[in-house]
């Protein structure tokens, strides 16, 4: 067996470089074989889905996606939304188109209504109820009872 200790530093480096190049080449050739082999893997059971139609996505003016729908259902959806004043589109809206829509009076009115609805609904939660209760008691009795109410809640 060759005595590697007798080789110079440069010779050792060259040897190692050659080996790594060959190793990389061998590995890439192996990968190519593996890639070709995967095309005909006997262990795979392919499943294919087919249909006589393609389902369609529709988009609102704010780019909300609707569907996917059968083409006939897509047509019915367009009519249904149009009845309530909303146009549906087949292609997604661009940022510029969305900004343009947000400037319309219809959007401003609907957005304000929706914002008020969300505010009302959130206020119906029990969040902050104990604090409100403490304030009411304070007002009625003229005494600061906030701490007492908090401790009652913990019990």
């Amino acid at each position: 067996m060759e005595d590697l200790s007798k080789l110079s530093k440069q010779e050792l480096i060259d040897r190692l470089n050659n080996q790594s190049v060959n190793q990389v080449s061998a590995e890439s050739e192996f990968d190519k074989v593996q890639k070709l082999a995967n095309k005909n893997d006997p262990n795979a059971i392919p499943l294919t889905y087919t249909s006589d139609h393609k389902n369609i996505y529709l988009y609102t003016a704010l780019n909300k996606r609707i569907g996917p729908l059968h083409p006939e259902n897509a047509k019915q959806s367009m009519l249904r939304f149009k009845h309530y004043g909303h146009q549906l589109y087949v292609k997604p809206r661009t940022e510029a188109e969305i900004e343009e829509y947000k400037k319309t009076d219809f959007y401003k009115k609907e957005a304000a209504k929706e914002e008020q609805t969300r505010k009302n609904r959130k206020s119906m939660t029990r969040a902050g109820q104990m604090e409100e209760f403490a304030k009411i008691i304070s007002k009625e009795t003229g005494v600061a009872v906030v701490n007492q109410i908090s401790s009652l809640a913990v019990k």
Binding site: I45, T50, S51, L79, R126
Partner: protein, 288 residues
């Protein structure tokens, strides 16, 4: 040899395939049993449901006016479902069959059943976002009042009980989901805890089947976009699923390109919104 695959052998395997397929169709069907199922085995590919205008009480109490008035229809168009063809094909390679200890015919039936049932569920779930009554929106977290509003809307639409709520798992168990409404703290809409309450149900089981008048179901077949999804609160008559023909299995021998048996399950169905006022889209966030 026992493992030779011949057309006769594949024919004998058909009952196994069908049995495995039917099990998947039954087990994984969540939305379909909740909607109106219509048998459309006769002629035609377009199933129509016409609507009869409902009479309403006359608003003018003048004695010379009629007692009842014909109101307008709640619906903009008759409900029409177009039947489509759906097929799921499995290529059962002869080599795979010979090399397997288990029953690949049952596996093929399972795959076909899964494929078709998921497609049925996706077709139905795709209708959820096309309902015009809606609660929530793109960046909204659900609160209890949204469920009250959905219930009110379905009642106003004369929806018959039971009312169902089909949502994604994230909309139920997510950090912004329904389960957060029943936590034992002061930040949520319903504080339902104690013996026999919904909160106790969730604390014990991690799940409740009924909340605020809705039977709750979760499905992964609703599309989620940016942690936001559209479920549906509805009565049975909101959607119709029209079945032209139940799923059937057909086999074919393939010896060109691949060697094996091609097993195809075919179904013919359509779906459409039946009564738009009896369904409410529930579009809410899943997680932050």
């Amino acid at each position: 040899m026992a493992l030779e695959t011949t057309p006769t052998t594949m024919t004998e395997a058909i009952p196994t395939i069908v049995e495995a397929m039917l099990l998947e169709l039954d087990d994984q069907s969540i939305i379909r049993p909740l909607v109106r199922n219509v048998d459309f085995s006769g002629p035609g590919v377009l199933h129509h449901t016409p609507f009869v205008t409902r009479l309403a009480a006359e608003t003018d109490d003048n004695l010379s006016n009629q007692a009842l008035d014909s109101g307008g229809s709640d619906y903009t168009s008759p409900s029409a479902a177009t039947v489509g063809a759906h097929g799921a094909t499995v290529l059962l390679k002869t080599l795979a069959r010979m090399g397997t200890v288990g029953d690949l015919a049952a596996a093929a039936g399972q795959l076909i059943g899964q494929c078709l049932v998921v497609q049925q569920e996706k077709d139905l779930a795709g209708l959820f976002s096309s309902f015009t009554p809606i609660q929530g929106g793109a960046n909204n977290d659900i609160v209890a009042a949204d469920l009250y509003a959905a219930y009110k809307k379905i009642r106003q639409g004369w929806g018959s009980f039971p009312y169902n709520l089909v949502i994604t798992p994230g909309q139920f168990w997510g950090t912004k989901g329904i389960i957060t409404l029943l936590q034992l703290d002061a930040t949520n809409g319903i504080q339902s805890h104690g013996v026999g309450t919904v909160g106790e149900d969730i604390a014990r089981n991690g799940w409740t089947g009924r909340i605020l008048g809705f039977d709750v179901y979760t499905t992964t077949n609703i599309t989620t976009t940016s942690n936001n999804a559209s479920g549906l609160a509805f009565s049975k008559e909101a959607i119709k699923f029209v079945n032209k023909r139940d799923v059937q299995i057909e086999t074919d021998r393939i010896i060109v390109g691949e060697v094996g048996d091609q097993i195809t399950g075919t179904g013919y169905w359509g779906e459409a919104i039946l009564r738009g006022s009896q369904g409410v889209e529930m579009q809410f966030n899943e997680d932050t």
